[in-house]
């Protein structure tokens, strides 16, 4: 089905712009960095639909990257939903690099390529644990990829996120960090003011 043939409407079982974009860059950078997880910041613009190479690593892919999970979503919940597309061979939860707690993504591996494609079409973009989840075809899990790449251990997208997302630990961690600093600063200022006030009173 891939390649030359074009349907009259877009297909949902194609790799995402994210994947294509990354892979284009990767080949340009000569694949320096293999250890990655997704959902990082991408420039979606300037994305070119590349001609798929004959050795397309996704041609028989059976693994899906699943993103935008709540930190509280359990393996059992993922199992229950994703089994609707076929038996799951392996499920790897994404973990915070430091705390080893779920950080909002996972890899689901099926036995067949078709099950993975069906999952893209039928489950990607629907809700799990009341969040719209994202699925993307993935060339396959490699050890190390289960850990977040963000500075604080979680996913990159959870560093600078400025919306409050309860299921993913509130605000972005980097933002929380600066806020904490500012808060501390303010408190110190406050204390100073107080002292001054007291001084005045005296």
């Amino acid at each position: 089905m891939r390649g030359g043939f074009r349907n009259t409407v877009e297909r949902l079982d194609r790799p995402s712009a994210y994947y294509l974009n990354r892979n284009n860059k990767k080949s340009r950078r000569n694949d320096r960095n293999n250890r990655d997880e997704k959902d990082g910041d991408t420039e979606m613009a300037n994305n070119q639909q590349s001609e798929e190479a004959p050795d397309d690593p996704l041609r028989n892919a059976t693994t899906l990257y699943v993103g935008n999970l709540s930190f509280y979503t359990t393996e059992e919940q993922v199992y229950d939903l994703f089994s609707k597309c076929g038996e799951i061979k392996r499920l790897i939860m994404g973990l915070d690099r430091f705390n080893k707690t779920p950080c909002g993504f996972c890899f689901v591996e099926y036995y067949t390529h078709q099950d993975a494609l069906d999952c893209l079409k039928y489950v990607g973009g629907t809700k799990l644990d009341e969040r719209i989840i994202r699925t993307d075809l993935d060339p396959g899990f490699e050890e190390g990829r289960q850990y977040g790449r963000g500075k604080s251990g979680g996913q990159v997208r959870d560093e600078y996120r400025d919306d409050f997302d309860e299921g993913r630990g509130g605000l972005g961690r980097a933002i929380q960090q600066t806020e904490r600093l500012r808060e501390a600063e303010k408190n110190r200022d406050g204390e100073q003011e107080m002292r001054e006030d007291y001084g005045r009173l005296r």
Partner: protein, 791 residues
């Protein structure tokens, strides 16, 4: 437009905007250069227009068709226009079949200006049809024939009729040689679904031909197919008739068409975009006098084949049957079949983009004649006020009905069930106010008929219902079923409620679901369900083998070697012998329960623990029947509050061959461990466990057969499968007939059911039996069909 912009990027861009660059109004255009709108080339414009035909709710069919036809006819000398058009037309017809009449109208209008258009389209479609007939891809055959039927008015002589007659001849041959034949049935369905489009195309002289053909199809269409009882979505109780007993699709179609013939082929619901409004009388005349073309030969081979998908006779079902006001076409109306057919093709073809499918469902009224439906989102209660003669059909009901007919399709619909779930989810997201109430009435229908729904369909409904709710905040008007909470657990409605809550919890968590339920339901979610990890019974000093249990758990936790485990097991064996209980069963309970507890943090944990201990477990499983059953018992009793987890663990144990499919069946249907006195049969998770197990076995057999390796492996697998079905049949027959010893269990619960209890259990037995007899029959049929090719 995105379509075009994207392509342009790939070509280096900028090729088509030369004219605009020098236009005055561009001076004040501050948009960045690359964002400029470029007039796309003609063939791209034609593509876009063809693909969006009839999509607009403004219903400007004639304008759209004329402009497109003009563009095509006027530029037909351009190679790019011609080749793209001739490629796109056959593709739209098989990908977006609701648009076929409109595409046909474009061809007809274009034909009046440039006859080559029709010649070329026919020359393109005829061989494609022939090829699809050869391959047995019957839906595509039907869809190409539909286009040809719509073009009947520009065909010479009898047009498409001879092809249909030829197809019919094959059907007769097949049906006379074998009464179980399904290809003949499929051919008759195609013929009957094509005739209305020929008649709507406006050829008055076709009436006799149609009548002749229908005289012939009557024999096949009116005879109920041998397989129909197997695939009826309803399973009537003894002494009653299934509501769909007389709803064979082709049987209904035959009657509906005969009705139409009596009414001069009114075919009110079909769009006739080739009929121009009065002010276009000139064009209409031009079209009528346009050149006619011979239909290129379409040969039907002597032997026709089933094709890639197994064929079954079809039963027409509606979840909106028997309402006080008709919100969908009645089975007496041909509109029921024609609209359903168009929607089903669309749904099943468009599985690669559920958003487009959902859009089609919402827009269904765009593709049928004016007045076919009431206005969108008309509340059901208002239908009553619609006066005499006008349609009361709700487009939402018709659309939802079509999806449900697939969810309730036996033996199975074309795609995974979750696809149909996703279509309903998207439709509900697109137009919640219109779709949600329709879904509500469909849900009520299924709930109130759950006792006479095929059990497998009952399970599908449960699975859809809970999955759907999980996408919409688990909101449902539970209060309307609140009285049913009082029913005994074994009652079909109560069993549904229990099963639904369990499935909801699996997709979410107990506390959350509890919060969505009215007070009457709170008792159904006990504190044990809110506990993340179940207690380890050996932590209680009073549990026999408590010390050994704790010790084993410690060993498993620190990943101790098997040599350290063995002495503890030996101690249990010795103690059990002293108490003259089965030593292996005793140690297995302790060991397996300890594995469950140590692995209770997550599935990965328990799977890793099983992986580490699999050699010991394999030995235990191989040692005795009782031990195998105990493995299952231990897993399920540990996870009794969350059976979903147990089901997954058992599935993995099956993969390791630690337990056998036979053991699972035995455990569920015979041992009485899944619930006393036949209660197990009413539990949806028991059905799930057994169904999963059977599916595992049957798909394994299919896989082995398909691989075609003749090393005797296939024979062994097939024999094992037959044994499994046989033992299920035996066990279920005794439940269904009420001859099971346990039925007379004196310790039956005092739930006020009295004698009714036996009756209910028997009914569950019957329903189970039907499901697995059908599955067995279908596997046998599959093996029969697969044989010639593997020889």
């Amino acid at each position: 437009m995105a379509d075009y912009d994207r392509r342009q990027g790939g070509r280096g861009g900028g090729g088509y905007n030369r004219k605009r660059r020098y236009r005055d109004d561009d001076e004040s255009d501050h948009r960045p250069q690359r964002r400029r709108y470029n007039e796309p080339p003609l063939h791209v414009r034609i593509r876009k227009q063809l693909l969006t035909l009839a999509e607009s709710p403004l219903r400007r069919w004639h304008e759209e068709i004329q402009t497109t036809a003009h563009l095509v006819a006027d530029n037909y000398d351009k190679e790019e226009v011609k080749s793209n058009f001739l490629e796109l037309v056959p593709q739209i017809v098989v990908e977006q079949p609701l648009k076929t009449p409109f595409v046909a109208a474009v061809v007809l209008v274009a034909n009046s200006m440039q006859p080559d258009v029709a010649t070329d389209v026919l020359a393109r479609i005829a061989p494609l049809t022939e090829e699809k007939i050869k391959l047995g891809e019957w839906r595509d055959v039907k869809l190409y024939l539909k286009l040809l039927a719509c073009l009947q008015s520009c065909l010479e002589g009898d047009g498409l009729f001879p092809v249909l007659e030829e197809l019919f001849n094959r059907a007769v041959e097949l049906q006379t040689s074998n009464s179980d034949d399904t290809i003949g049935t499929e051919l008759v369905k195609i013929i009957l679904l094509t005739i209305p489009y020929i008649m709507a195309a406006g050829s008055n002289q076709g009436q006799q031909k149609a009548a002749d053909l229908m005289d012939k199809t009557d024999v096949i269409a009116s005879e109920p197919h041998a397989l129909q009882v197997l695939i009826d979505p309803h399973h009537a109780e003894k002494g009653e008739e299934s509501p769909t007993a007389n709803s064979s699709l082709i049987g209904l179609l035959q009657k509906q068409l005969q009705n139409e013939a009596l009414n001069g082929w009114e075919l009110k619901c079909l769009p006739r975009p080739w009929q121009m409004p009065l002010e276009e009388i000139e064009l209409q005349e031009k079209m009528e006098n346009a050149q006619k073309h011979p239909l290129p030969a379409i040969t039907v081979p002597e032997a026709v084949v089933t094709g890639p998908r197994a064929l079954f006779p079809e039963v027409y079902m509606s979840v909106y049957a028997n309402q006080e006001v008709e919100s969908v076409p009645p089975v007496s109306s041909v509109a029921a079949s024609l609209i359903r057919d168009g929607l089903l093709d669309t749904i099943n073809i468009m599985d690669f983009n559920r958003n487009v499918t959902a859009r089609y469902l919402i827009d269904v009224d765009c593709y049928f004649a004016d007045g076919t439906f009431v206005k969108r989102a008309t509340p059901f209660d208002r239908l009553r006020d619609i006066d005499g003669g006008r349609s009361t059909w709700k487009p939402e009901d018709v659309a939802v009905d079509a999806v449900f007919s697939q969810l309730f399709q036996l033996p199975s619909p074309e795609h995974k069930l979750v696809y149909y779930h996703s279509v309903l989810t998207e439709a509900c997201k697109l137009a919640p106010a219109a779709i949600a109430p329709s879904l509500g009435r469909a849900i009520r229908y299924a709930y109130h008929n759950t006792h006479q729904l095929d059990l497998e369909l009952g399970y599908r409904f449960l699975d859809w219902f809970t999955h759907h709710l999980s996408n919409f905040g688990f909101m449902w008007k539970w209060t309307e079923w609140a009285d049913d909470v009082e029913l005994p657990d074994i009652h079909p409605c109560k069993a549904f409620i229990i099963g639904a809550l369990d499935k909801e919890i699996r997709l979410s968590f107990a506390q959350r679901i509890k919060g969505t339920l009215p007070p009457q339901y709170q008792v159904l979610i006990g504190p044990e369900k809110e506990q993340d990890t179940p207690d380890f019974k050996y932590n209680n000093e009073h549990t026999p083998f408590s010390a050994e249990g704790k010790e084993l758990a410690q060993l498993l936790k620190k990943k101790g070697p098997d040599e350290e485990i063995q002495p503890v097991i030996a101690r249990i064996h010795a103690a059990a012998l002293e108490q003259s209980i089965d030593p292996l069963v005793s140690s297995t309970d302790v060991f397996m329960t300890a594995i469950c507890w140590v692995g209770s943090k997550s599935l990965s944990h328990v799977l890793a623990c099983i992986e580490r201990t699999k050699d010991r477990l394999l030995d235990v499983g191989a040692a005795s029947e009782a031990a195998r059953l105990q493995i299952i018992t231990s897993v399920i009793s540990y996870w009794s509050a969350q059976p979903g987890v147990a089901v997954v663990i058992i599935e993995k144990l099956l993969n390791y061959s630690i337990v056998t499919p036979g053991a699972v069946i035995d455990w569920a249907l015979v041992s009485g461990k899944a619930g006393p006195g036949g209660e197990a049969l009413s539990k949806s998770w028991v059905f799930e466990l057994v169904l999963n197990t059977v599916v595992k076995v049957t798909s394994r057999v299919r896989q082995v057969l398909a691989s075609g390796v003749a090393d005797g492996a296939a024979e062994t697998e097939v024999a094992a499968m037959r044994d499994l079905f046989k033992s299920m049949d035996d066990a279920l027959t005794s439940w269904a007939e009420g001859s099971k010893d346990q039925m007379m269990d004196p310790a039956e619960p005092m739930d006020g059911l009295g004698g009714k209890r036996a009756e209910l259990v028997q009914r569950w037995g019957e329903r189970w039996l039907r499901v697995f007899r059908r599955r067995s029959a279908i596997e046998e049929a599959h093996m029969l069909a697969a044989k010639p090719s593997s020889d």
